[in-house]
Symmetry: C2
Subunit: 236 residues, 2 copies
């Protein structure tokens, strides 16, 4: 029906995307991921396979494949013969566990990344921090979306710069959850000034080339994030 595969751009999809040689399931995956990150899909709501297929104007088969991949990220949960649901909201205990895990993994990433740091890597990190400073920080999601993206990018870059594929995988298992918490934790961006300063401190520590210093800076950042989030926690 749609999906004019070779060359010709069909009018089936809005916003005529080339789509030429991309698998449809990948598109569905990214679309669902964006919806989850943006908060358009709130925790607890069901994600119907057929419904999503109708909404995106594709058949259920690619949707099924995309959801199978998403399940492994912890963003959606699947119950056999019942369907998929968006993973429930974080409790305070979930948040504590997440920070405990970050505290175990991210300083190690900083230490390893510091040992292999190149000027190119450093430039990327500097760009991320600059984007963090420049990003708008309004109350609505659309306004602080750039901020969250830069924040996540900074941490992900450090994980990737370890050169260790398994540390990247371990961090990736957490990365999505971190953003999801920021969205549904209730508080918006209230600690940007502190957070930016801490990111800058991590960056400076990395630039000195002292791995222990970098690890300490990262550990301090994570601990302070935890502390602020607990202070700002909604009454609930």
């Amino acid at each position: 029906m749609q999906l004019a595969s070779t060359g010709s751009h069909s009018e089936g999809r809005p916003a005529g995307r080339p789509v030429s040689r991309q698998v449809l399931a990948d598109h569905v995956y990214e679309e669902l991921l964006a919806s989850l990150m943006d908060g358009r899909l709130e925790p607890g709501t069901a994600v119907s396979i057929d419904g999503t297929a109708r909404e995106l104007d594709v058949s259920p088969t690619p949707v099924r494949e995309a959801l199978a991949r998403l399940e492994h990220t912890g963003m959606v949960r699947r119950v056999a013969l019942k369907g998929y649901r968006v993973a429930p909201v974080f409790t305070r205990e979930d948040f504590a566990e997440l920070m405990e895990a970050r505290l175990a993994i991210e300083p190690v990433n900083a230490r390893l990344a510091c040992a292999r740091l190149t000027t190119g890597h450093l430039a990327e990190l500097e760009r991320a921090v600059a984007d963090l400073k420049d990003a708008p920080r309004g109350p609505s999601f659309a306004e602080f979306r750039g901020y969250l993206e830069a924040d996540e990018r900074f941490h992900r870059l450090i994980a990737e710069q370890t050169g260790n594929q398994f540390m990247v995988a371990a961090y990736a298992a957490l990365g999505g959850q971190i953003q999801r918490f920021r969205l549904f934790g209730g508080v918006g961006i209230t600690d940007a000034d502190h957070a930016i300063a801490e990111h800058q401190a991590v960056l400076d520590a990395l630039a000195t080339g002292d791995p222990e210093k970098a690890a300490a800076a990262m550990a301090e950042h994570v601990q302070k994030v935890r502390g602020r989030a607990i202070a700002d926690a909604p009454a609930e």
Copy 2:
């Protein structure tokens, strides 16, 4: 050949229901996972969707879903429009990275698990170590399969006993790879005596209730595993 028979080793249902209803994709997933773990699917070989479907006497749809889940574990790799292939053999560098990651994560797990240890948990760990001692250690895979299973179970139990779902996820991202390395690293089980002693040491340290001791014992174990593997490494 194929399914129809209810799971032999998977936990049985409360027997009240015939449970004839099970999702086919789950069976395919388990079957493929077992094939990967057993070495029946050697690294680098293609995993054809249609071919697997014919072999298991199902349609390609559940196979596609199972492979989408497997991809996220790192056991198979997918190239868009080209299909799935079993992930390539570990290089020496991959192994070093894996051990680096284990060294970052597993001692933390031991420390956290130690803090929340219960008698029930301890009993499970003791059983795992006992199984490790009793397991046959022949040259063929079928013979040391039980050994590998007990080894993996020991480490997984410690991860689960942290009570931290994210540390479990982080470890799970590694767990499968550890077994795969044991299979294709070339060496069979040559260090069982040492490894059993180290597992016992970790268990003892946990039993003392001293978290730092437990972490240290686990770190020593991982480091020694790395050292022995490097010593035994095939010429390549």
